[in-house]
Assembly symmetry: C2
């Protein structure tokens, strides 16, 4: 229960805002929330007591169903807002009448997703997929070191953590030829997603230097995947129904400013990177991720292995003149490190089904089974100085009657 | 000037509504428009005079910036609405005070696009692309006859006809290696787009039989493409920046009900089609399209060659449980017939640059040049009994300074 934490404990070291989200009271009253110093603050209630009035923001700003309108005010406003909350947090009792009870009130999808792009930014993941799916060819696609490869996903199926995952049906290859049936190769993907706050101008690429002004924060992403459906359909147009049934995101958008101090050098980039995508180190974030299936930790991916930075993804996405929109979600693609214990999908951990993963209860998983619960959590730093990026979770449900069974 | 047409001429044969759109007065006052009997009717003005009150629709419904809210009321309401307008149209003078002047007031993007999917539904197009891009392999992808192949495009760059097309820059292969520069292979694609009106339930595939209840109408689509950018990036994740810079749609959404009588038998479908995608003939629409570059007609594609029907696209898209959303746009992909004079892209007409197209002014085009104007128009039927599907047009502008040049 969040209210057990006394805000007075935060006096020693003023906390940074660790997340913004949307909560609903009685499923109908939306309110914008902030997480800081172990508290979840109801910003709508805080605003009504006049403590946010210094910023002259619209009074209904904290009663929106998404963060989009707040984000669209731009980075100067987020920064001022962060600072005001931090100042309030060091005054004992500031938040006492504005706490949000996470035990009874649910959290909702924080962002109205405009366009959802999913990239392929982890070298170890891309190489693993190449070795499994296209043995005998080069492990990495030819363009991989030149530009961040990516594709557009389905924004309409991006849901908040906790939403059950209905096993999808689709066309898959079987010994008797292609059949429409529930997937037999249901997978997960451990990813981060960068949330775009402010639009850019059509026809004007956003440079690597300008990109951070457009990025509000980061969420955890589980891009559920049906590998058999994906294998059947993906040539030549890429992933489609094998991915579009559901993508889950964590409920808290962690401001990029809260984790800037955890930047570390990412992988070296070679001369293949064109001038307009070059970015100085430190490019990566030292975010630790942990993947669990039914409470067994099966992998510990590390975001520092991501080859491309959020700024490079933005610069590439807009390099053809396509504008950013408030609510664009740019996911990294599966994050995998060099060793098996840091791979971010069952496709890799089980090597295409050949080496099932062992769970603590003695069972094994080549692919997800009905009833399984998958959780991804993430954090930066250690006990003395850390930021919690939260959790994204989902429970697998049997396929719908009539959908291929 | 539309008002020269006397609505009395429509008494003999009551006109069907041929299109719904959004017009703006002085760029700020949005209004919903209907096209019928050669007139463009301002539905907001019509509503204010009480002539639409029988339907008990919200009074601000006709002052929205998109058709989405109107569409979301569902097919029973669209049908009643169509009938009421048809009844009004046979009463002389009904629309006299509610005409919209297309000469002075602009038309806007009619739909707030939720997810944009682009399919690959024309066999002749898919086979041409296979022969040009992957000579020596099967012309059609392995899955092509089993399911409609498709991918998600960028909804944020779907714009209305008339919006200029800024030549995009991107990474392309050159004799000196990959470089970021303005595309040298700018192309067009002649397509239709089906507009989804009503959402479906998550986890519940929409059957072929139910699909038509969700489809409001059809627009013309030009899916501008940079073939060199596309070639560099498309393995293994499919089209991305080579397509995402712009997609243009016609301003009028033509209700499917207006063209139902022009259904014709589409191409035969074999035993590869799974049960859940089977649809009876007539599946196709006898829509004639005409592609012009700078006033030279360069191709006459025919929609009856589309292999997959709109109902089959919907059934496939939702077959994995992904719900439809109001505003989803499902485009067919390039429409090409069997002969060169009916191919729907320069990629095909010029066979990858080898056989440039001749224009009336004596010049040739392997690819589009700055200053070119591309128009696609379409219609069903003939003089006595026809429906005009309108036009989608765009003028090519030089690339932005700083974007790769």
């Amino acid at each position: 229960v969040v209210s057990e934490v006394d805000s007075a404990t935060s006096v020693a070291s003023p906390p940074h805002v660790e997340g913004y989200g949307i909560g609903f009271v009685d499923d109908v009253q939306p309110r914008m929330l902030a997480k800081l110093g172990g508290l979840v603050v109801d910003l709508d209630r805080l605003e009504r007591t006049g403590r946010l009035s210094a910023l002259d923001l619209p009074e209904d700003l904290f009663r929106q169903t998404t963060l989009n309108r707040f984000m669209s005010f731009g980075h100067h406003v987020w920064r001022e807002f962060d600072e005001l909350l931090t100042e309030l947090s060091i005054i004992k009792g500031s938040f006492d009448d504005s706490l949000f009870d996470l035990d009874t009130d649910p959290l909702y999808r924080p962002v109205g997703v405009a366009d959802f792009c999913d990239f392929y930014a982890s070298e170890h993941h891309a190489a693993n997929m190449g070795r499994i799916l296209r043995p005998g060819s080069d492990a990495l696609p030819a363009a991989w070191r030149h530009v961040p490869l990516g594709y557009h996903g389905r924004n309409g199926t991006v849901v908040v953590s906790g939403t059950p995952v209905r096993r999808p049906a689709g066309m898959v290859a079987t010994p008797d030829g292609p059949k429409y049936e529930p997937t037999n190769r249901l997978d997960l993907e451990v990813e981060l997603g960068y949330v775009v706050a402010t639009q850019s101008r059509r026809g004007r690429p956003v440079s690597v230097d300008e990109a951070s002004e457009h990025i509000f924060g980061v969420v955890l992403v589980n891009d559920w995947s049906a590998r058999d459906i994906q294998a059947f359909e993906y040539q030549p147009l890429g992933p489609f129904l094998g991915k579009s049934f559901q993508t889950s995101i964590s409920p808290w958008v962690v401001p990029l400013s809260a984790i800037e101090k955890f930047r570390v050098d990412g992988p070296a980039q070679g001369p293949e990177v064109p001038d307009h995508l070059r970015a100085p180190q430190p490019r990566a974030f030292d975010i630790h991720l942990e993947l669990s299936i039914n409470s067994t930790v099966v992998s510990r991916p590390e975001a520092r292995y991501l080859h491309w930075s959020p700024e490079q993804l933005v610069a590439h996405l807009t390099s053809n003149g396509a504008p950013l929109a408030t609510g664009d979600l740019l996911a990294t693609g599966t994050i995998s490190g060099p060793e098996r214990d840091s791979w971010g999908s069952l496709m890799e951990l089980g090597w295409g089904g050949e080496r099932p993963v062992q769970l603590d209860d003695g069972s094994t998983r080549a692919w997800l089974e009905d009833g399984d619960t998958v959780s991804i959590r993430a954090w930066c730093g250690d006990d003395g100085d850390s930021v919690d990026l939260g959790t994204v979770t989902g429970n697998i449900r049997p396929s719908s009657p009539g959908a291929g069974n």
